[in-house]
Symmetry: C2
Subunit: 122 residues, 2 copies
């Protein structure tokens, strides 16, 4: 895959992911499969249903991710993505976060096989 | 691969990686292959030689990584790892960072296929 395409897919995926996360987290279900894994602040979940159950249960109403960086590399016909940025929950102060994804091609699109999320504070 | 083994490999890899990074960055050559990729603060490098050339050229004498979190998941017979922490360069104040790795099994060990490093500041 050429580098420009890798970067374009990673950017479009990331923008869609966080926009959907803010609008309606349950809609992220379409991005995960049975074999997908999420590690969220150290807690592990496997399968689209358990992953969405966790994301939907997060105790906030409003969340906005401000993306600072999106880096991506090709592998296994898929894409390895690492995002850094800040997220703001309700009226709290923004917190730094890092999130890494392994995207796998499926038809004309991609699904998330691996997803690790961490707040990054001192 | 059972979850305990994934976690053990990721922890041992991460500890070895940063210990070697502090002691002698050029020794990290053994962890990369021709197909390995590094994205370091947005700059892309491919192949063990170019990756080590970049790491060796970083303009500091002393560097210490304080690891905060190591999260890992299995995939493709390999391991997907995301590390967060703080690094201190020479006598500067510590800076937050995030680094993600895709490890691939080779014989009784692993090499790094994908490596993305970012400082994570507001």
């Amino acid at each position: 895959m050429d580098p420009a395409q890798v970067s374009t897919v990673a950017t479009e995926f990331t923008q869609f992911y966080y926009k959907t996360f803010s609008a309606d987290r349950s809609q992220l279900h379409s991005l995960y499969r049975d074999q997908s894994m999420l590690t969220f602040e150290g807690q592990q979940f496997q399968g689209a249903s358990k992953i969405i159950e966790k994301l939907a249960s997060l105790p906030f109403q409003k969340v906005l991710h401000q993306i600072s960086t999106i880096d991506a590399q090709p592998n296994f016909n898929g894409i390895f993505v690492c995002v850094t940025g800040a997220l703001q929950v309700d009226e709290d102060a923004p917190q730094r976060f890092a999130q890494a994804f392994q995207l796998i091609p499926e038809g004309t699109s991609y699904y998330v096989l691996n997803d690790i999320f961490r707040l990054n504070y001192g």
